[in-house]
């Protein structure tokens, strides 16, 4: 029976798809644990750095000699959006949601009359953004084939941003990345890198945000060391959060795919058995009516 054979082939193919998706799920689950530990370990440092920078930016506001990395260069005409995505797909909406977030932000800024440039960290983000903003992607970075991102990678990206900033390629820089909330939830987040966001939260106020710091060595020298370090730390945080989120998203996506494949196999097997039985019944009727006719 042609119909039966087609069904059998179909079931086999869904079964092998299911094997692949469930293997991918297991791989992601084991990678996730490591990535999650890294992401969580990077948080305290980044948070405290951020807190310190926020107070610094608040106290430097209005000081014309403050370094541009801290307070910006006074203009807001050109925005750089750095989108952090994964290098591989098959992770549900993980990459697309960053692409969409970056696109929405870019459109909004353009509507406000700003000039927008983009940078893509991760192959998927580059491919997504190239469709709409092909000529405005000024650089892209990919970690394809690497086991995990290192702090040195973040430092390299930070250095690149600083050089671009000094050459006047952009005035404001925003990072768009997936924040790892839990295995099933990654939230696209916008974080401003340059200029550093000013402390506005009342919590910071209470803990002495108004305090004017003394510096040792002198302010200029210290900030020259501190600001690039901060930039690298914030980028590193985004990279490891995104890496953990990617594994979480892939695990969830592959879990769903495995379950869907299971449902499909069940349905196809039912169809297969039904038509097999129908065939047998029909043959029996043919034999019996043939025998009666004799």
């Amino acid at each position: 029976m042609a119909n039966l054979k087609a069904l059998r082939i179909r079931i086999d193919s869904v079964k092998s798809t299911q094997k692949i998706t469930s293997a991918m799920k297991l791989v992601s689950a084991s990678k996730l644990r490591r990535a999650q530990i890294r992401a969580e370990a990077a948080r305290p440092y980044a948070e405290r750095m951020e807190r310190m920078l926020a107070t610094l930016a608040a106290s430097a506001a209005g000081n014309p000699a403050a370094p541009p990395l801290l307070v910006g260069n006074g203009r807001e005409a050109t925005h750089l959006i750095v989108a952090v995505t994964a290098d591989r797909g098959l992770a549900g909406a993980f990459n697309a949601s960053i692409g969409r977030a970056a696109r929405t932000l870019a459109r909004r800024l353009e509507a406000e009359g700003k000039q927008v440039k983009l940078a893509a960290i991760g192959r998927k983000g580059r491919d997504f953004l190239r469709r709409d903003f092909g000529d405005r992607i000024i650089f892209d970075v990919s970690f394809a084939g690497r086991k995990q991102v290192e702090f040195a990678d973040a430092e390299a990206i930070a250095q690149r941003l600083i050089t671009l900033m000094q050459s006047g390629a952009f005035d404001v820089c925003t990072l768009v990345y997936n924040r790892f909330v839990s295995v099933i939830s990654q939230v696209p987040t916008e974080a401003r890198l340059i200029p550093a966001p000013v402390a506005a939260a009342p919590a910071a106020e209470a803990s002495g945000a108004r305090a004017i710091y003394e510096f040792e060595p002198e302010e200029e020298g210290l900030l020259a060391r501190l600001l690039p370090q901060n930039l690298a730390v914030q980028i590193y945080k985004a990279l490891v959060e995104s890496a953990a989120g990617e594994q979480g998203a892939r695990m969830t996506a592959m879990d769903n795919a495995t379950r869907n494949a299971g449902d499909m196999i069940k349905r196809l097997t039912l169809d297969y058995n039904r038509s097999r039985q129908a065939n047998i019944t029909r043959e029996l009727i043919e034999i019996i009516s043939g025998a009666e006719a004799v």
Binding site: A41, R48, M49, Y213, E216, L226
Partner: protein, 135 residues
């Protein structure tokens, strides 16, 4: 009122507790932080962080460099690398000194920022050996 001390490195939060005094190795000399210290941001050199509770020194850690934020109520050490004294070995320090010396020899002396960075690494590595040798 004690000072809330936190020591973090990019990899982990090493310590977070209340102490009576902490001495951090500032780039221009050690700084003792007592409650009510004037707010400061300090660049750190490689050296020892010493923690005092009561009049007694209760623990020591090696920090390879970084920053410290001091306010009247807390002291936050943002270290590039930090480890308890027990985890420091002389052989690792020697290896690091050799690497740092090679980097310093190779660096372009006209590039002030790069030269200073390698010098800092060298100083930090030497401080690590000193710490490892100390009883």
């Amino acid at each position: 009122m004690p000072t809330a001390l936190e020591i973090v490195s990019p990899e982990r939060l090493l310590l977070s507790r209340e102490v009576d005094m902490v001495v951090v190795p500032g780039s221009e000399g050690d700084i003792g932080v007592l409650p009510g210290h004037a707010p400061m941001i300090v660049l750190l050199r490689g050296g020892l962080i010493r923690i005092f509770e009561g009049a007694k020194e209760t623990s020591r850690m090696f920090v390879a460099g970084g920053f410290a934020e001091i306010t009247t109520t807390r002291c936050t050490v943002l270290a590039s690398e930090v480890s308890p004294l027990a985890e420091i070995s002389k052989s690792a320090a020697e290896r690091r000194i050799n690497e740092a010396e090679a980097a310093y020899a190779a660096v372009d002396k006209a590039d002030v920022a790069a030269r200073d960075a390698t010098l800092d690494h060298l100083q930090s590595a030497r401080a690590m050996r000193e710490v490892a040798e100390a009883p």
